[in-house]
């Protein structure tokens, strides 16, 4: 039984989207977001939807995964719809639910906002599903590189992020082991009100955090022992922009600019 894929997490593959340089993907997502938020009406959203649809298809990502990111925001979508559509004791309304009425223009607005959220989620899902966390971190730190000159600790931040990523699976394993060990001592985690449940996690969180702090110390010693000083580092792998990457970037930005101008 394969491990379930959490929302938005990287699924390795060999599609053109997977192979696209991570920096280009980031830039295109930014451009896509600009189009989404500068669109005045549904025409702009439809253009973005076309782009998102094409991306999902070219990336060979199963729709089930691409849409899975919508599950957490379902409530937000419903709320957006409701907030825009429902009216309190309106003068005229095609439908009534007690004191609540419905506004047609409100419904349209609500749908617009909701659709925008959906498109935003799907677009970023394509990014995270086709780009490994490591590639994303590398891309982000490269793109933010110039900020070094104004004193932003880009390299340190990238290193911290990369170390955090490295330890996610390890820490998850350790947490599970502690949960099982405490369960064997009779600890129960799923009973009682919110306060009881929160207290129940103390025997898991305390050892986990103590271990994490200890590990951070040890890791720092190990890193310094290998001459880490935070500056002057070179890289083993440097992503190089190929023709395809440039082409995708140019085409994407051009289309996005055109769409922004057309639909704003």
């Amino acid at each position: 039984m394969p491990a379930p894929v959490p929302f938005g997490q990287y699924v390795p593959g060999d599609s053109p989207v997977h192979r696209l340089d991570a920096r280009v993907k980031l830039a295109l997502v930014v451009a896509y977001t600009v189009v989404l938020f500068s669109s005045r009406d549904f025409a702009g959203l439809c253009a973005a939807a076309l782009a998102a649809f094409a991306a999902v298809v070219i990336a060979q990502v199963p729709w089930r995964l691409a849409l899975r990111g919508l599950v957490p925001v379902l409530w937000l979508l419903l709320f957006t719809l409701a907030a825009n559509t429902l009216r309190w004791q309106p003068v005229a309304s095609p439908v009534r639910l007690g004191p609540l009425g419905v506004s047609e223009t409100g419904l349209v607005t609500g749908l617009f906002f909701a659709m925008r959220i959906v498109l935003l989620v799907v677009g970023t899902s394509v990014l995270t599903l086709t780009t490994s966390p490591v590639a994303l971190t590398d891309a982000l730190s490269t793109l933010m590189g110039p900020l070094r000159h104004v004193g932003v600790p880009v390299d340190d931040a990238a290193m911290m992020f990369s170390i955090a990523l490295r330890f996610v699976p390890t820490t998850a394993e350790e947490a599970e082991k502690i949960v099982v060990a405490q369960s064997a001592r009779g600890a129960v985690f799923d009973r009682g009100g919110p306060v009881t449940r929160a207290r129940a996690w103390v025997p898991v969180l305390v050892p986990l955090f103590v271990n994490l702090f200890r590990r951070a110390d040890e890791l720092a010693v190990a890193m310094e022992s290998r001459c880490y000083v935070g500056r002057g580092r070179t890289r083993l792998r440097e992503a190089r922009m190929g023709v395809g990457d440039w082409a995708a970037l140019v085409v994407g930005v051009t289309l996005a600019t055109a769409a922004t101008i057309l639909f704003r």
């Binding site: 039984m1 394969p2 491990a3 379930p4 699976p169 998850a172 394993e173 350790e174 947490a175 599970e176 082991k177 502690i178 099982v180 060990a181 405490q182 369960s183 064997a184 001592r185 009779g186 600890a187 129960v188 103390v202 025997p203 898991v204 305390v206 050892p207 103590v210 271990n211």
Partner: protein, 277 residues
Amino acid sequence: MGLRVDAASFAFDTGGPTALSALEAVSLSLEPGRLVLVVGETGSGKSTLLRVAAGLLKPASGTVTADGEPLGGRGARGAVGLVFQDAESQLFAETVLQDVAFGPANLGLSADTAREQAGLALERVGLDPVAYGGRSPFHLSGGEARRVAIAGVLAMRPRYLLFDEPTAGLDARGRRAVREIVAAERQRGGVVVVSHSAEEFFDDADEVLMLSDGRTVFDGAPRELLAAPDAFEAAGLRAPEVLRVIELGRKHGLVIRPASLGSEAVAEAIEAAGGRS
């Protein structure tokens, strides 16, 4: 009576962060006063077997009972205690006594009774409750922390005790202290020890269960295993070093049959075999 695992099977599970090895129709039977040693390489299913025997994992097929009562997936509620690998990583409370009392308190005992049982458990692992009770569990040596963790399980007064690699990572003194605890507990109830170094508990064991790839490849008295040491290699294990000496003696045409793995017994067997060049 006794702790019985009957033909338990468990499928290989990669659903969560930790993969659990498979088990295929493995049986384990433990009576009070006995020590069963489970050996096998990493991934052979030893830890999975312990979790099943403790009632923490429901096997896909087969049954687990403690003194006739079936153990549910929720744990044995005190009948079976499991000391996990690197048990000291479960310490969390402000004081040693509070940590050891955690188990009994969860069983529904009053705070006073829990503390009392905790104090007795600390004594059983060789730590003076007065000296150690008020200390922070995070300021102990590795060996002390491990013993506190063991006390935390003993305090629940289980009838059967399962130890998963209890001496791993400890130095000579630490290992000796744990061996003494295991020997003492074996007198009180039944004990199962999982160890990837067979030497340590081999001679104390009444029975050795050898697992490989989730299956039982040997189940019998230690003496029988000594007579057929190839079983170690077949299970992907390195035979105990003194057995390798005997194996090399076999290449010289000598038949050496020690009564146990203890140095004296092996020395006697070597002497008896003669054949010195």
